[in-house]
Each structure stands twice: as C-alpha cells, then as structure tokens.
Symmetry: none
Subunit: 184 residues, 4 copies
DNA sequence: CATGAATGAGCATTCATTCAT
DNA sequence: TATGAATGAATGCTCATTCAT
C-alpha cells in the first residue's frame, strides 16, 4: 500500500516519543517507574508501550543503547592513542558525564533485578571490551595498576555516579578522578 | 500494677526480636522487604511492627543505629592518633566492612526514597562529624587533599560498597583503597 | 472497474485463508484463542479478520459450517436406509469423529457464551433435523427408545466428545457406543 | 489472648462467606470468574480472597471438597452391597445430582486449565478409588462390562452433566442412565 | 500491648476492538 | 479493502496500613 510508509512513520514517531518519555521518567523516578507513568508522559495508552517494548528490559536498553554505543565508539577512537593513560582518563570522564546526565542508569546498572539483567549484558558486551582495550593500553605503558580490571573499574565508576542530595555531578567527577589517580 | 515492669520488659524483648529479624531480612532481601516478612521472621504480628516502628524509616534507622554508633565510637577512638592518615584508613576500612556485611544499607543510603531520608540525617548527625575529625586530622598533617569533605568521601565509599554480580566485597575494599590513595 | 472481479477473488482468497487459519488455531488453542493469533496464522492484519467476520461467532460458525453441512449430507444419505439402527450408529460415529478431530468445537457447543449462541442455532437448524430423521427411522423400527430426542442425543454425544488428559478419542468412541447401546 | 477465639471465628465466618459466594459465582459464571466478582459477592476486598485462598485452585477445591467427600462417603457405604450393580447405579445417580446442582464443577472437571489441575487430583485421589470399588464389585458379579474403568466412566458422566439450554438436569440423568445401561 | 484479618490502592499485563492511512 | 498501530477496560496479584478483639 502507498500509506504503508505513513503508518510506519507514525509508529516510529510513537516509539521515539516513548523513548523520550521513558528517559525523563527514568531520570525522575528511576528505572522501576510504573509503565503507566511512561505511557502517560508519552501521551499514549499502556498497550502501546507493550507493543513497542514487550518487557521493561527492552525499553530500558532502548533508552540507553544510543549513549552506550557512543561511549563504545569514543573508546574505539581513543584506543591506540599515544598517551594511553590520558586516553583512559578522557574516556572515563565521558562515561561519568553520561552516567550523571542520564541518572537512573546508575541505579539500573547497580540493581540485580532480573528484568534488568540484559542491561548488564549490553554493558558487558559493548562497553567492557571497549574499556578493556584502553585499560590494557594503559597497563602496558605502566600507567595503570595491572590489578585493575575493566569490569570492576566500570562498576566502581558507575557506583560513584549514583547521585543524591549533597553529592552531585561535580562530586562524582572529583571522586572518579581520585579513584583513577589511585589506580596508577 | 505490679506487672508494669514485666510488660515493659516484654515490649523490649519484642523490639529486640524485631530488630534482629529486620536486620536479617534487610540483608537478604533489601530494605524494601515486605513488612509481613519481617513480622513473620520475628514471630509477631504485623501490627506489632507498626506499634514499635510507625514507619519504615524508623525501623531501618533502629536496625543500623547500633552499628552506626559503633562506627562513630571507633572514629572517636582513632581521633587524635599520631598517624592521622593511617587512622582514617583504618576507620574507612571498618566502615566498608560494615557496609558490605549489612548489605542493604548501601542501597538504603543511596536511595532518595522519602521514607529513608532520616537515615541520611542519622549519618549526617553522627558519622559525618566523627569522620570529619579524622579527615581534618589527616588534612592538617598534609596526608589528605584538603578538597575532600567527610560527607562526599563517605558517600563515595558508600556507593563503592554497593555489591552485585561480579563485584564483591574484595572489589569494594580494593576500590575504596584506591579512592583513598587518590585522595592524598 | 475491470478489476472488480480480481478484488472479489482476492477477498475470497483472504477469507479462505482465514478459515483455514482459524480452524488450526481453534483446534490448537480452543475457540477462545486471541484474534491476533488467527490473523497472524493467516498472514493478515487483525482488521481484516473483523472485516470478514465482525464477531467471533460468525467466524466460529463459518469454520465449522462446512463440516456441519457434510454431516448433514451424510445423514441425508443414510436416511431411509433399510437398517435404520445401523444407519444412526454410523452417522453418530461420523459425528464423533468430527467432534474429536476438530476439538474445540466440543467446547464451543457446550459453552453458554453469548457469542457462540449462534453456533447452537446452526446445529439446531441443520444437524438436529437431519439426525432427527435417522432417530425417527430407528424409533419406527423399534431399534431406539422413543424417549430419545435427536437434540438431547446430539448434545450428549457432543459432551462425551470433550477430551482431556486421560480421556481420549478412543474413550469418547467407546462411551458413545455404550450410550447408544443404552438407548435401544 | 482471650479474644483470639473471636478473631478466628470472624475469619471462619469470612471464609464461609467466601465459599458461599464462590459457589454462587462459579455456578453463574463459571470457575474462571474474576476474583473481584467473588470478593464483591462476599462483601469483602480482593485481598481477603487471596488471604484465604492463595490461588484459584485452592478456592475451587474448597468449594467442592465437601460434596466430593460426601460422594466418597456414599461410595464407601455402598461398597460391599449385595447388589453391586444397583449400588453403582445409585452412586452414579447421586454423583449426577451433585454435578448438575453445583454446575460449574462439570466445566471445572473438563477444563485442562493448569490452575484446576488440583481439582483433577482431588477427584482422582478420592472419587476414582471410591467409584473403582463399586465398579470392581459390579464387574465381579458380571453386572458391568470389564472394559469400563472407573476414571473413564466418571469422566463420561461428568461430561454428560454439562448442562445448557435445551439440555437440563432431567436429560443428564436420563442420558447417564442410558450410558450405564450400555455399560452392562 | 499484641494480633492478624480485612481493606483497597497500585501495578503489570493481555486482548478485543476501533480507525486513520 | 487491507493494515496494524493505538486504545483502554478487564483482570490477576501484592502489600502497606488500619482496627476490632
């Protein structure tokens, strides 16, 4: 049909509205926010959420995948830099920025909730290896303690990015910087 | 009546049983565990939980107060030590041990849940000042970066103690040690 | 337009695909199966199902009408047989086979669901009279208890064909045979 | 406490109200009726239903257990009768009366719904053995076809008791009688 | 004081049905 | 005519909280 495209376009628009709404709601009330709230924020019915994202995990992943991919890409870019230590530092800094901006991801990463297991997997599959290469490079140059693994490092950084009253983005950045300093 | 004392004693016993039960349940299933589970574990009815602890926050605080006080006492003990840097280190190490043992507290501290706000206050009122003296001592001796505040440090340490699959107690200790190293 | 015929032909094809799909799905998951499953099986959109069969009852009827008509035809054929008792027996046997094969019809017949009321009517209008003639023939020859009505008999047979764990097609056949024996 | 009994008594009353309500609702709208409807009919909140009957199966069983037990007792009573054939007949007749009165049980027995599996078990465990003894007795006296098993017989009888428009209690009794006649 | 029965709001999820394209 | 996206009512279930005994 000739109007096939229109319907698909409409669906894509809805999907995007949902992602937008979910990102906001996740940031405000956490990844466990009621589906209804997300639907409401997006101005759609609950059924629509389920049509696009059969389970919560898929929605969470979809919301963060973009930025996770960007992070991975940045790591790629920095890999092989002549200054591995600095490269790692810059990457971690970008990662922190990502985490504190899209707050809610931190909680999601920390949670051992079944429904968010796949977010862990996504991280493990894309970010950890990417970060791993930077870590390896820095270790090879003696600019990082060989006892530091990419996973534990990212996990720690992720935790340090859990904001709260009296502990804001600046604090997170500062603390992560100190952690890194201590990893040399 | 002459059995006034007996009643009071009974109530105290009940209260203690509740604290014991809550500590266990919090560790196993988190601070958000169903009230009924706690009541059941303590062998009392739900109503009794509400009588002793009108809201969840009070129970959470009561459960952790003992250990928080111990932590504060330890800090007191270490204050004025001839080796302020080492003293801080030892104290933080004990704090970490406390956090990873009573897991659930980490989440509680991080959560911005209204009902747990008072736990923050408790920390602010007892632990932060205690820790603050150690920090001040270390700073005075040039063994700690003056930019480090007791609150942010504890917060960061607390976050680093949020365990999960692939990130255990050992990792937490190691990362906290690195953070401290980076704070000098 | 000249393609009027083509459109009609296409619609007919769609309709047949739907009947085919519905028959399969009804057999597998019962007459209450989700509309979407049927549409999916037929490779069409849900809207198409509604266009062809505005309500579930019409679809159910359409699905079974063919076989119901065949049953009626067989009854016609057997009517006036020189052996009325045997004729009835053979017809009932064929009816049983139909019911246990297209399982789901049994439930449909039994259900007093509003939306399936018309299936009852269909039976009443076609099968009952057809069966009635066989019954009458047998009664006339003294080969059947005059107290047996075609409707009650068919209803009973229909019920005996509701299969389940531990009660299969063989059992249904056997029990129906015994019921018939008891009707002489 | 002295008022322990009062609370328990109240709970028992509620439980009975629930069983009463459930029996009515099951009869009117089937065993799959919404929990809310049952709660409403009993004049209690949904939570109360779940407190007393954690899952639907338990409610269904509780509703019918009394009568199932009575049926089993009757079978016991009739076992060893000097007229095994007649004994079986009388028992089946009582069983039919039970089924057509508590209509809804028929559907429940027929359904292969997971949540009702335990009702099957209950029948299998209590009624089938009880009926089996009567069947054995009748078979031993040559008053019943040895090919008839208690389970298949009960299943068939159960099916014959599924009433509907134009097929009432009388019809069920008559058809069961004929089935039994055919089993000799 | 203790009890636990009762309540009902809250959330997830499914699916029949409508309608713009 | 066909499509499938969107809708929302219906339903199951959990759990915090109250209160009569």
């Amino acid at each position: 049909m000739g109007d096939e495209g229109a319907r698909v376009a409409g669906a894509r628009r809805t999907r995007e509205a949902l992602l937008e709404a979910a990102a906001q709601v996740f940031a405000e009330r956490g990844v466990q926010a009621p589906v209804r709230d997300i639907a409401g924020r997006a101005g759609v019915g609950v059924g629509t959420v389920y049509r696009h994202f059969p389970d919560r995990a898929e929605l969470v992943i979809a919301v963060y995948r973009h930025q996770i991919d960007e992070c991975a890409a940045l790591a790629e870019e920095l890999t092989g830099s002549p200054e591995p230590g600095q490269a790692l530092e810059r990457w971690i800094c970008a990662f922190v920025e990502f985490l504190v901006t899209k707050h809610g991801l931190g909680v999601a990463l920390q949670s051992d909730d079944m429904s968010l297991r796949s977010l862990h997997s996504l991280m493990l599959d894309t970010l950890v290896p990417a970060c791993g290469r930077l870590v390896d490079g820095a270790v090879a140059r003696g600019e990082l303690d060989p006892g530091v693994t990419a996973y534990a490092l990212m996990r720690a950084v992720g935790n340090l990015c859990l904001l709260g009253p009296g502990y804001d983005r600046e604090d997170a950045h500062a603390m992560v910087a100190r952690l890194l300093a201590g990893c040399r």
